[in-house]
Subunit: 460 residues, 2 copies
Amino acid sequence: MQVDEKRFEELHFEELNDLVENKKFSVLRQEIQKYPVQDIADFIDELDEKQALIVFRLLPKEIAADAFAYLSVEKQTEIINLVNEEELSRILDDLYFDDKIDFIEEMPAYLVKRILKNTNEMERRLINQFLKYPDSSAGSLMTIEYVDLKKELLVRDALDYVRRTAPDKETIYTCYVIDKARHLEGTLSLKDLVLASEDKKIADIMQKDVLFAYTHDDQEDVANLFKKYDLLALPVVDNEQRLVGIITIDDIIDVIEEEATEDILKMAAVRPTEEEYIQAGTFKLARKRIIWLMVLMISATFTGYIIRGFSATLESVVILAAYIPMLMDTGGNAGAQASTLVIRSIVLGEVTFKDTFKVIWKELRVSILVGATLALFNFFRILILDSVGIDVALTVAITLMLTVILAKLLGGMLPIIAKKLKLDPAIMASPLITTIVDAFSLIIYFYLATLIINIPNLAG
Amino acid sequence: MQVDEKRFEELHFEELNDLVENKKFSVLRQEIQKYPVQDIADFIDELDEKQALIVFRLLPKEIAADAFAYLSVEKQTEIINLVNEEELSRILDDLYFDDKIDFIEEMPAYLVKRILKNTNEMERRLINQFLKYPDSSAGSLMTIEYVDLKKELLVRDALDYVRRTAPDKETIYTCYVIDKARHLEGTLSLKDLVLASEDKKIADIMQKDVLFAYTHDDQEDVANLFKKYDLLALPVVDNEQRLVGIITIDDIIDVIEEEATEDILKMAAVRPTEEEYIQAGTFKLARKRIIWLMVLMISATFTGYIIRGFSATLESVVILAAYIPMLMDTGGNAGAQASTLVIRSIVLGEVTFKDTFKVIWKELRVSILVGATLALFNFFRILILDSVGIDVALTVAITLMLTVILAKLLGGMLPIIAKKLKLDPAIMASPLITTIVDAFSLIIYFYLATLIINIPNLAG
């Protein structure tokens, strides 16, 4: 099987589809097992309600729950609605605990009730506890399927214990060493356990300086720990330092992606949603967009007042209006380039407050270079193609140059200042920078115009 | 140690610094070993050249190379320049192979020569082969430290082999099963190996349907495989299906972050660079920005021609110019919101070409809702605050509504069309959408003005 998954799916899903259409279920049962559970889920997602249930029921017990965890929320809901209580509790039993929590969080209330009825008292209590961890907290990412070792164990017995209990655990590559009160004492990689001589004590070979997170830690901080220390898993403790769960790298990859999406949306003045775009409702999408549009629209009206203030100038040299879009757009784009680079560098930890002057100095040089090039090009383009006076061309060119410099300086500085003020630097992205630069750019433009252009009836 | 790494570093690095200042090197040697290698590297990065070398030489052999791999390129260069040949070859010997390749790629040419002189003939050949894999290919991400098992081995002997060879391997959690000609035959997780009965044959317990990548596969496709199948490592084969290396999850996390950065920069019309912002040169930064600025500036001049075309209208009702910035900015922002959401959804695989009509329908409804609200708000604001006629207020309000609808439809559709045409959807981000929407918005504006406003001397 190859990286080009698209091709893979197109080639083989057709065969599976034929088997479904022709009701060759025993062949299908054989064939479908050859696929990874993620692909099985993709396949079932594309089927209609009845076919989906038939194919799901064909899956061997070992993979049914795994495949279920990868189904879309819609398909999960459909299947849960159709199965009887016995099937439901079998699915629930086989789901990994963190998948179970994710699944319950997405289900409508009437199904959550039915689901909780089908779990035993102890698990129900645990589920309720996990559902209480706030979104984006370390607690909400945890799983409880990990191997814990009492620190008094011998390597021999520990290996035996791992062998016996491992099939139920999500990861056994790191074991977590605890004392009698479940306080986290250390970790032991399976590698070290396998390599250790059999009669040593766990406490003597464990890693004592352990990285961990508290349940209330923010998921972005947790992700940063994984990135910095190349972790595969991280133990999570409660306020009394008792081990309550672990976070595994696959969930962290989702967090990294989620955080990048959040940044990207914020930079486009959209407030992020939890759902995928295609599933979000119209009113919700509208609400997430309108507030920033309104704020930016109102600030843009100030730019309008500047134009009104110079309406005498504009009335005498109406051609000036023709260059407003070009000046505004270029200023906005130049500012967006600088602010985006700096915002991303702040997020990745490459730029901090102490770099402020480095950033200003860099943006100043870059903007003079870029601004001068664009201004020169424009001066001659306007003069040659637009048949306007040299005074108008000069006004536009100088304004363009100053606009680019201003845009890049503001774009470079404002995100750093926002960060220093404990604001999210992403708000200082393109839309806000554009609005600010627009206003300054137009003031420069009309002021230069009154200086350079011989305006006939300014007083009139 | 806790998630809040900032606090951690500030608290303890001071102590280490004191030890360096007071030349208490034997205490320092003891203390520094308690830190993860990543923190040791951070600490050394902050020291000056001489102190850095002293502290680096204090590090025990087992962690020196690991810490070295995490140093900044500047500090690596400084240290390599100061050490003698013997030390150099010791560092090189202890580096993991993929770290060695990364390191050599960053070094200046004269140091690369010295480094290659200090590696043996066989490794030199291997290094040269790895340096040839193109950037962003699977080959460039590979490491050669993995456990390969011949398929005829018994579990007992395999476990023994893993125990003996594992200390040199980067990951032993997945073993790769090969035949005599090194063709990839299957994989075996350490978990399954540990859990298997000892007299079974590897070939009988291995996983046969193996996901793999070719050396020439793109790193983004490889990252998508890791994400979809929750992989920790992926084998890489050459064109003859022979196993040549593996890619581990820690390098994939860097790829995911790199690709997100690339997307973000492209969406702000900056061509991505390899280096960090703070290290990139002025001319390079200017070059990466000026091309798009130029393209966008030239397209914005067309908007200028539209204004020129309506200069008679503008001359009679000069107040119209005052609302141009607000209309342009709001149109640009509304388009940016839609295009950013859709571009990100395309990247994450949530939206594909078959969703085109769903996207159009969604954006249409959202834009009518958003556009109508903004238009209504503006109509009354203008009428009450700006003391203009109802005709001007109506023109502005209707234009605003139509602009928002147009912007959101274009912002939603163009990225999907770009993707279909095999272009990068990210080029259809804010800057280009803004320019396109601006032009249409102004045409609507002036056309509506001539329709609605009783313009006194249009013919004049």
